[in-house]
């Protein structure tokens, strides 16, 4: 089975994502931003980085790139799409997932390992998680999740909040100034999905914790969930 990773000008985690997919035992396929052709892949990752230099707003220029036409059509058909970090920003700007990512509350670029906890274990992106917090890195300047109160209530009710930043005792770091909430995200949201559940984005980088030689393979719980679900989706077509 083949899973695609999009490379935009300025992507910098595309190779890590391709590697994590290889670790998960699938054939990684590099997709170029200038073509809407997804080459028949069973799932798509939008990787981290600074697509188009993050000019104007992170993710917005990428939204209008040819490959995103292919990704939107793929998502509309039920195909699985995972946006990591800058990829999450691209999905949010494309309005494929709810909300927006604001400048970190601290105004600082945050680069460290954080703890996130899956909020449900029955989604395509979390079903192979143990349920325990995952310790994976973040590296972003604009990761403060924002949506208006009505939207936050909606996504909470619909189970669209897939990951939250948690404190060492595993409870969500709901206070935006809590040190365990690295960017001031509302309701400690680290990642969300669309209403259909097939498009998800998160700020932390699971692909950077994909092998024990990298320090941990916590991120593979997420990557394997995604890969398995993509397999099931492809088989069911």
């Amino acid at each position: 089975m083949r899973i695609g990773v999009v490379t935009f000008p300025g992507s910098n985690s595309d190779v890590d994502a391709l590697n994590a997919l290889a670790v998960a035992g699938v054939e990684p396929v590099s997709l170029w931003h200038e073509s809407p052709d997804l080459h028949g892949v069973a799932g798509v990752i939008l990787p981290g980085g600074f697509a188009y230099g993050d000019y104007l707003r992170a993710g917005v220029i990428a939204r209008f790139s040819p490959v995103m036409r292919g990704v939107s059509d793929f998502a509309a058909k039920g195909g699985l799409v995972l946006g990591i970090c800058n990829g999450f920003q691209v999905l949010a700007e494309s309005r494929l997932v709810p909300g927006a990512l604001l400048r970190n509350r601290s105004l600082r670029f945050a680069s460290k390992i954080v703890a996130i906890k899956p909020q449900r274990l029955d989604s395509p992106f979390t079903h192979r998680s143990t349920g325990a917090p995952l310790h994976i890195p973040i590296a972003h300047g604009e990761g403060c999740y924002y949506a208006d109160d009505a939207t936050l209530d909606d996504i909470e009710r619909n189970g669209q909040i897939l990951w939250r930043y948690v404190r060492s005792d595993g409870t969500p770091a709901l206070d935006p100034d809590d040190p365990a909430n690295p960017n001031g995200s509302l309701r400690a949201i680290a990642g969300v999905c669309n209403t259909a559940g097939n498009v998800a984005g998160l700020m932390p980088h699971p692909e950077r914790m994909s092998e024990s030689i990298l320090g941990s393979d916590d991120g593979m719980q997420l990557i394997r969930s995604f890969v398995d679900s993509a397999k099931a989706w492809e088989t069911g077509r």
Partner: protein, 111 residues
């Protein structure tokens, strides 16, 4: 056809935390300024549209402001007409004269 030059001013919506505005505000005491508050920091884009009418040009700028220049979830925008230059292009297709003193253009400038 005429040329219309616009500015699109984008600011974080009221009620949205604006860390840049806050950082600027926090620097004010270092300048011994104590009577400035409610600083908001945004961005400004300027662009020229060639269109048949101001209404047509403004509708396009409004679309661009909504779709590209701002994110309506978090930002508000205001459109400002900076300059309108109407040029009477002859049916023969002679290019409109450019530069100051050109006789083909009536120029209106608003600040």
């Amino acid at each position: 056809m005429s040329e219309f030059r616009y500015a699109v001013n984008v600011l974080p919506k009221q009620g949205i935390l604006d860390p840049q505005g806050r950082a600027v505000e926090l620097s004010l005491p270092h300048l011994n300024v104590t009577n400035v508050s409610r600083v908001r920091v945004g961005r400004r884009a300027e662009l020229t549209v060639t269109a048949g009418s101001e209404a047509e040009a403004r509708a396009l700028v409004d679309d661009l402001a909504k779709e590209l220049l701002s994110n309506p979830l978090i930002e508000a925008y205001a459109i400002e007409l900076l300059e309108a230059t109407s040029s009477a292009v002859s049916a023969g297709g002679a290019p409109p004269a450019t530069g100051s003193g050109a006789d083909s253009g009536a120029k209106v400038t608003r600040s």
